[in-house]
Symmetry: C2
């Protein structure tokens, strides 16, 4: 079955006009008589004519669509960021095409290339946890495809980037644990390739050092799939608490990672409750027990900002060469899980 819609030609035939006249009438061109215009407009309305954007794109070499590549929409941070993206795109007249990499570099590549060849006007990208080398994006960028990175960014490409202040977020979270009397703070994080991993790790490390606590590699665990596979996280936690250097608190970096870790700890660890805080944008943190302390990213605003910058590039007459990296502040939401029980 093919889905046939009305074309400008059909209108022309019906009204005994040339396609160009119809086209002009439809776009309200001044050179068409009011009479003809009215005729065409009314008929078009009647048969519910819609211009074919595919034909349009072919001609104009633009689609008024922007592509989004994220790892997973079932992630509070990303679904909120996407809402921010849509809010801006919508009233700038762009449509948004969302794709997921599921943390796979292969999948990311396919998506990026498909979106590009499909003629999106620009790309909003947050890298997968496997993506270290990103030649396939660089190539497109060099050919002139506007790209803005958000959240998980890369040095490899010079363009606008929008991120949360991950360094400070991690720093403050760690410091908060230290102030609360925790001394052996483990850090469970995502793939070491990711920019957010590095930024958060640095914040964590610097906070420790500032307070005279030695940084200890044995307290770090990398979960390359970012919590998508719970085994990965279970292993990390198990190995942390098995060792002799058993931590007294855990700080997690990553939305899924945080809730998954919290769940595991809760299940295995009922008595000796370790302190807990993590990056997450869930709205349900209050409902947990103990309620979940969190570092919250301004996801919606990150999405908005990235989109504004992208549209700016797309609509710029001349090649943009002056790029910036915007950093938005995180929010530290202290709840029960990061507060020592004994420390009343």
């Amino acid at each position: 079955m093919k889905f046939d819609s009305v074309t400008i030609k059909d209108i022309g035939k019906a009204l005994n006009l040339s396609t160009s006249t119809v086209s002009r009438a439809l776009r309200g061109s001044y050179e068409i008589s009011a009479e003809t215009k009215k005729l065409v407009l009314e008929y078009a309305e009647k048969i519910n004519y819609r211009p074919n954007p595919i034909a349009l794109s072919l001609k104009e070499r633009r689609t008024r669509a922007i592509g989004v590549v994220v790892s997973e929409i079932a992630n509070n941070f990303f679904s909120q960021a996407i809402n921010g993206i849509e809010s801006i795109a919508y009233n700038r007249g762009y449509h948004v095409i969302i794709t997921q990499s599921h943390e796979s570099q292969e999948r990311e590549k396919v998506n990026v290339q498909h979106l590009a060849s499909r003629g999106v006007d620009g790309l909003l990208v947050s890298l997968s946890s496997e993506s270290e080398e990103i030649e396939y994006i660089k190539e497109l960028h060099e050919k002139g495809l506007p790209i803005v990175f958000f959240d998980r960014i890369s040095d490899e490409i010079e363009t606008h980037k929008v991120i949360a202040n991950n360094y400070l977020g991690a720093y403050h979270a760690t410091e908060h644990l230290i102030y609360g009397g925790f001394k052996k703070i483990a850090h469970v994080t995502s793939s070491p390739y990711l920019s957010i991993t590095k930024e958060r790790l640095n914040g964590y490390r610097d906070a420790l050092e500032k307070h005279g606590i030695a940084y200890n590699d044995a307290l770090i665990r990398y979960c390359n799939r970012g919590g998508m596979i719970s085994e990965e996280v279970e292993d990390a936690i198990a190995s942390l608490f098995k060792g002799k250097a058993k931590p007294d608190a855990v700080f997690t970096a990553g939305d899924r990672l945080t809730t998954v870790c919290y769940g595991i700890l809760k299940r295995m660890n009922q008595k000796k409750e370790a302190g807990f805080i993590g990056f997450t944008n869930t709205n349900l943190a209050d409902l947990f027990s103990p309620s979940l302390s969190a570092i919250r990213q301004p996801a919606f605003e990150i999405g908005q900002t990235a989109t504004e910058l992208l549209v700016q590039i797309i609509e710029s007459k001349r090649p943009v060469t002056d790029f910036e990296t915007r950093q938005l502040d995180t929010q530290l939401m202290i709840r029960e899980s990061s507060v020592k029980k004994s420390a009343t």
Copy 2:
């Protein structure tokens, strides 16, 4: 800035071949000499040629893309369903374009029409809570655009539909509360327009009647925005518990609605804990306190099934006239929130 890519013409020019020869060589047509083929393929590879899908679509009148319209991706049910959709679409060679209506009929209409005019090969739709009259979808469907409904469906259009067994899910949940000793069970649900609302309400009502409890309108609350606006839910809950017919348990129908309601009840209701159960697909129900009893929908499978049916229509040679409505079973996950404390 415009993003220019290599065309078949460029290749032809460089190799002194006609565009059609190049085209055929690229598609491996049998009528091209091995030599020429090799030449073209190698050159195309070298300059990283990608066919322009826009031009292709214009010609073939198909895009190998399917459009998805849901109310909100920041909803566990939908993000899981989308993963199901993608899993099938991906290995059938279709791309997936996701859009959100944010429970607005206006937005839904815009999205549907855009996707259609953009030439998706088919549509997977779950209606917004405002959508009662859906002429704009009907029109497209009558013109031959393949459409499959899932979750929130409509009688207005005859096509394949995929849903959870909402009636039974609600029935069993209600019965479970009754068995647990609850007698005044309130039902907080979404817009009365939605199919899921009606199905679940019927299940609730029938369970009550089966157990000799009179159905009482005063215990029903409709939240038209499905929990998107928390005030709406606050009002509903407040008015329920203010009245003289104060409920002893609450049963919610809707993913967001369930978590939002639970939060409100938890905050306001610490002592006289009412029983609680609701439809939701969150993975975090275990972490709540009390842990959250839930009716879980097979979201992933619903997405998969809907996509299979859609692809079937798209690829069918002759118009499909024999439609079915598939119903998949829900899962009752009993945890603490629906169990009477005193009833130990």
